[in-house]
Symmetry: C2
Subunit: 188 residues, 2 copies
């Protein structure tokens, strides 16, 4: 116990989500999470700085993957086409963590502090995407508008995906939401 194990991070995440769901996020301690995972507090702190980070771990990776997708998009792509490529990249990541996504989403919705944190992460992601679009030659205002539109689509698609009884892939839902947004923008 306490030694490095390849699955320690996932076990800590699973234990944390279970306890947050059972007792509430506020009421759960790091010691309890570690115990439930069959690990020590010390091991917990090797993977996460605090109990909040368990919920947000991976958001830097998501941001990097979305930014990389924009960087890799052909120069001929439209700004919203590049954003679509970033959403496809997010889809890959989301499918990998689908089992955690629902419980995580409900825990975040239950706490104002966590909702704030989620908003900050989204604002940071929008800024990073806008910067990547600018680096790709997209004008300043267009880059900001397109990046925030991507966040809007991601947010709407995520809400549908996380509760979808048919477990449709995120990519399909996000592409549909992006098409809906294009439709809305072309009307009136």
């Amino acid at each position: 116990m306490g030694r490095w194990r390849p699955d320690a991070r996932a076990r800590l995440q699973e234990a944390a989500l279970t306890l947050y769901g059972e007792r509430g996020y506020e009421e759960t301690t790091v010691a309890e999470i570690a115990e439930r995972a069959g690990l020590t507090k010390r091991t917990f702190f090797r993977y996460f700085t605090d109990k909040r980070e368990v919920l947000f771990w991976g958001s830097e990776l998501l941001e990097r993957q979305m930014v990389t997708a924009i960087e890799a998009a052909p120069a001929s792509a439209s700004p919203l086409g590049m954003v679509g490529a970033a959403l496809d990249a997010a889809a890959v990541r989301f499918e990998e963590v689908r089992e955690f996504a629902g419980p995580r989403h409900r825990i975040i919705a239950s706490s104002p502090e966590l909702r704030e944190r989620e908003l900050i992460k989204a604002a940071s992601l929008a800024a990073a995407m806008a910067q990547a679009l600018r680096a790709h030659g997209v004008g300043d205002t267009t880059a900001t508008l397109a990046a925030h539109t991507g966040i809007t689509v991601m947010h709407v698609a995520f809400e549908q995906w996380v509760d979808d009884p048919d477990q449709k892939p995120f990519q399909q839902i996000a592409r549909h939401a992006l098409a809906q947004l294009r439709e809305i923008a072309s009307t009136g």
Copy 2:
């Protein structure tokens, strides 16, 4: 001193913005704000619950005016047409407070706590607009997409307006940004 005066709120706001700019938001106390305005702390608390609220006072009014504009839009208007009406309503409000807008914007940008608060207010505004759109018969997903698109446009337009050397009206800038977004969405 300390009695009700019709301009007390504006004087407190002006004093607070001046002090936040001079000394920093964190370093300024309510007592100093009241003193600078030539009023008492007690009077301060008659208008604001704390020094943060000085910066966010009026956001409920803004939300109400934007929601009212959606409610008053003709049923034949498109979802983004209704959002455009809400932005026109925001424009009226912003022009009324133009002299405070720049200093306020810079103080909020200087503090993570205040930026968080601003994000929460924007999320609340998006939710209220989406609800008003739904009440107007707009479908659930379309309402969310259109409302968040409105926030994106408002955010981009505000950044341009607050630093515009030509002091162009917010309405003109916001309408232009909305047209740009429509253009982006129709490309590729």
